[in-house]
Symmetry: C2
Subunit: 335 residues, 2 copies
């Protein structure tokens, strides 16, 4: 069944049917009602491919991420999808996995699907954004590129980020204020947000006249066991630390595990601060203080911005969302 069937039965031309389909105001109320009735009777659904051909768009947004099963990204994708749908857009999901190679290939693939925009979710696209970003910039001339937790200054590229620097600065200051002097910092990767986080940590130390020591800053795979082992290793090397800050909750969970294993009291002997305030930070005992990066707000803002771009409105290239420190037990010194 197609537009001709509807037009025939409604006694109008296909142009009129199409107008009704597209909400064109140049249709008399009587005709519109008639056509809609017939469509309903026939159970007619317009063919999206034909529509796409004619309009050049199918109202679909590509969402790219490295690993959608990561709790943080999973949450982001959920909110992005729902938000986009509420605006009548579909979401084409594309998980690249860890391979950098894939990121570029899949990006091109997404473009070839003629999506109306691409959202790069998560800060794992740093290599793609910072280096060899020529094709990103090129693509942005055609369609909007939205970065969630990433930044690249180029026309057609819009960013929504969290104020990671301030968040980490604040959290570190809090620890220092409560007397901690040997604060370990564990991070998963030097992504866009990753760099801001570590800067926040370093500057907080400096501003409080504490030394920034190399041996207190370590990279660690995003894994509970790995981070636990790393702490055990550092401990074994004789490093003294009374607090652990992390760029991700999973590392903080590892820190709590380490403390359990070594019978270290939390937070008295060791304070722990996670990042993202994911469900993981609520699973441990004691629960881990963490930084709520407002994923939902981040996603809502991203989609709102995108819609404004589509509408041709004026849009700022970078929007910053304020994180919030969530005080839980691993920094509750009043116990």
């Amino acid at each position: 069944m197609n537009i001709y069937d509807v037009s025939r039965r409604a006694g109008v031309s296909i142009a009129t049917v199409s107008r009704v389909l597209n909400g064109n105001p140049n249709v008399s109320e009587k005709t519109r009602t008639k056509v809609l009735t017939v469509m309903d009777e026939l159970g007619y659904t317009p063919n999206v491919f034909a529509r796409g051909l004619g309009l050049g768009t199918m109202k679909t947004i590509g969402i790219m991420c490295s690993d959608s099963s990561d709790p943080y990204l999973a949450n982001a994708i959920y909110h992005l999808e729902r938000q986009l749908r509420s605006h009548g857009y579909d979401s084409l999901l594309c998980c690249t996995g860890p391979s950098l190679e894939n990121k570029r290939i899949y990006f091109e693939l997404l473009l070839s699907k003629r999506v109306d925009a691409v959202i790069l979710a998560g800060s794992k696209f740093v290599e793609l954004i910072d280096k060899n970003n020529d094709y990103l910039i090129e693509a942005a001339k055609e369609i909007p590129i939205m970065l969630v937790n990433g930044f690249l200054d180029a026309p057609g590229i819009y960013s929504t980020v969290c104020n990671d620097y301030q968040a980490m600065y604040g959290a570190a200051s809090l620890l220092i204020g409560s007397g901690r002097r040997n604060i370990l910092y564990l991070y998963t990767s030097h992504s866009y947000s990753g760099l801001n986080k570590v800067e926040g940590y370093k500057n907080a130390l400096t501003d409080h006249n504490l030394p920034v020591r190399r041996e207190y800053i370590h990279q660690c795979p995003k894994d509970l066991t790995e981070s636990r082992k790393l702490l055990e290793k550092l401990d074994g090397l004789g490093l003294k630390f009374d607090a652990v800050m992390t760029s991700d909750d999973s590392l903080a969970v590892g820190a709590v595990k380490y403390a359990h294993k070594k019978n270290i009291r939390l937070p008295q002997q060791l304070a722990v601060i996670g990042y993202n305030n994911s469900i993981l930070s609520y699973c441990t005992n004691p629960e881990i203080s963490s930084i709520d990066t407002k994923v939902e707000q981040l996603c809502t803002t991203t989609v709102d911005t995108l819609m404004r771009v589509f509408d041709g409105g004026s849009v700022t290239a970078k929007t910053v969302i304020s994180a919030e420190f969530i005080q839980k037990q691993t920094t509750n010194f009043s116990i």
Copy 2:
């Protein structure tokens, strides 16, 4: 740029270009090479809409789920997407949220996008599958409908499920075998798998000559705090229990929290078993024994089955994946 540009430059007809595009064998090697070279030179990408119009498909699969941020579903979606892509299919994600109303609306929406198949991921579609399933059955006449952790016997509908019954039966038997007599069972919902799980629990009791008692079976929202509170309440009511089995890890985490709060030793005084063996079950101390439902295998099988359906091969309507009990500390009685 379109197929005409390519054909002109390559000195062939558009039909030949189209043949090359579609891997039609009736093209001489020389011509094929020539056309491919020109495509490369021009950076030509076929228009997917036109292609969709001509072929009637765009190689896109709809993935529906209630909440993609749930760790279990997030994992499933990740694997489904990657698996589908490896077969050259795109994934159109559709999160319905909790509303049942939405599930139906979104399902229709997905169909109207002319997807080649729909995958219903997760057992949250039970209302949709068990009742008012007329339109599901109707849709399955047009395109394959794949159920992940759900079952409906109708032509065109294919299921991949986990042997939840056996898994739960085995886990309960294990507890009974180690002397537990008062085993609590907490579940989030009576979904397809939910029903099988509780049956496994009940039958294990019965087969070991233990009574199945109503007051030992409780529904609970999928939430750490809720399950903790529920246990506290039951405890307060004087109910005695020496083990907790759950239909989801999050409930089991709540059980561990309860034990911590009440200074109950795990597993000596209380054994705990989760479900899905998600990252949550590794976060607590002690770590929670759980049932690995082999999400990746579930997803791979689902996609493989779908591909076989597309290829017109013979396909069984229901494939069962074997879960595996993962022994961790909350049931390690040898300590």
